[in-house]
C-alpha cells in the first residue's frame, strides 16, 4: 500500500474530478461535498470510462400516505455518476451500482495531508 501524490488540494474545487493513471490503473478522483472519493475508471459492465460520465443527483420518488406517487425529483444530498457508454449509474459515496448494489467499483482511499492529496494504491 503506497500513497501516491495526485495534486494540490487547491486544484480540486467542489464538484471537480480528475482521471489519473497510476501504473496500469486508471482512477477517477471526485471531490463532492468537501469529501474525496476515488474509484476505478473501468465500468463493471463493459469496461467503459465510468468516472467520466454525467454527474447527476439521485432520482427519488415521493409517495403519498396511500403509496401513490407524487412524482420524481432530484435528491438534494445524494449524487451519482453515469458511465457514458451504456448508462450504468454508480453511487458517489459507495461506488455501488444503483441498479444492483452487489456490483461495486474498486474503491481507493484518498488522504489529505496539508495541501496535498494522496491516493492509496
Amino acid at each position: 500500500m503506497t500513497e501516491q501524490f495526485i495534486g494540490k488540494l487547491s486544484e480540486f474545487k467542489d464538484g471537480d474530478r480528475q482521471i489519473i493513471r497510476i501504473g496500469d490503473d486508471e482512477v477517477g478522483v471526485f471531490r463532492h461535498g468537501g469529501e474525496f472519493y476515488a474509484y476505478s475508471n473501468f465500468c463493471l459492465h463493459a469496461g467503459g470510462p465510468a468516472c467520466e460520465g454525467l454527474m447527476i443527483a439521485r432520482v427519488e420518488e415521493h409517495l403519498r400516505p396511500d403509496k401513490t406517487s407524487m412524482g420524481l425529483s432530484f435528491s438534494p444530498t445524494d449524487m451519482n455518476f453515469v458511465c457514458p457508454w451504456h448508462g450504468y449509474e454508480y453511487d458517489m459515496k459507495t461506488g455501488a451500482c444503483v441498479a444492483d448494489k452487489r456490483l461495486k467499483l474498486r474503491r481507493y482511499d484518498v488522504k489529505c495531508k496539508g495541501d496535498e492529496v494522496y491516493v492509496v494504491v
Binding site: 501516491q4 474545487k13 464538484g15 493513471r21 497510476i22 407524487m70 425529483s73 494504491v121
Partner: protein, 187 residues
C-alpha cells in the same frame, strides 16, 4: 606415373591411422574425467546423515542455504499521470436577481389567487415569458439539471398544455416537428 600415384596413396593411408590412434585415447580420458564424480563416488555416511537431517528439519535460519538468499529489489513506484481534468459544471448562484424573481413570482401568484389576473398586462406577461424561455433554454444547454417546475407545484396538466401549445404556435411549430426534433437530438 601410376606407380608413383599408388605409392603416395599408400603412404597417406598408412599415415592416417597413426593420427587417429593418437587422438582417440585423449577423448576417452576427458570423457571419463567428467563422468567420474557422478557415477563413481558415493556420498559418505556422514554426508548422507547430514542430508537426511537437513531434509527433516528444513533449512535452518543460520544455515548456509538460508543465508544465501538474495534481496529482492523493491518494486518501482507506479507512475502517476493526470489524464484529464473535468471541472465542475457551473451552478446557479444565489444572487439578488433570484430573490427579486421569487418576490415577483409571489406577487403574481397572489394576484392569481385573488382572481385578479387582469392586473398583469399582456405585454408584461410577454416580456416575462420571453425572458424565462431564453434563460431556461440556456440553462439546459449549460447542463444545469433542474425540474422546470417543482414537484409540489400547483401547475396543472391543462395549464402546461395551454402554455406549450401557445409557445409552439408563437414560433410556428407543429407538435410533429417537436417530436421529430426530440427524437433526432435524443432529448
Amino acid at each position: 606415373m601410376s606407380k608413383v600415384a599408388t605409392k603416395k596413396a599408400t603412404t597417406k593411408k598408412a599415415a592416417a591411422p597413426k593420427v587417429a590412434a593418437k587422438k582417440t585415447p585423449v577423448k576417452k580420458a576427458a570423457a571419463s574425467k567428467t563422468l567420474a564424480p557422478a557415477f563413481a563416488t558415493e556420498p559418505s555416511p556422514s554426508e548422507k546423515a547430514a542430508f537426511v537431517k537437513a531434509m527433516w528439519h528444513g533449512v535452518q535460519p543460520k544455515a548456509e542455504a538460508g543465508a544465501k538468499k538474495t534481496k529482492t529489489p523493491k518494486a518501482a513506484a507506479p507512475k502517476v499521470e493526470v489524464l484529464r481534468k473535468i471541472p465542475a459544471k457551473k451552478a446557479p448562484v444565489n444572487t439578488a436577481l433570484s430573490a427579486q424573481a421569487l418576490a415577483l413570482a409571489k406577487l403574481i401568484e397572489k394576484a392569481f389567487v385573488a382572481d385578479e389576473i387582469d392586473q398583469l398586462q399582456p405585454h408584461a406577461l410577454q416580456a416575462l415569458m420571453e425572458a424565462l424561455c431564453r434563460t431556461y433554454a440556456a440553462q439546459v444547454e449549460a447542463d444545469i439539471h433542474e425540474g422546470v417546475i417543482s414537484h409540489n407545484s400547483l401547475v396543472s396538466a391543462t395549464d402546461v398544455m395551454v402554455v406549450c401549445g401557445a409557445l409552439l404556435k408563437a414560433v410556428d411549430l407543429q407538435v410533429f416537428e417537436l417530436g421529430m426534433w426530440q427524437t433526432w437530438s435524443g432529448r
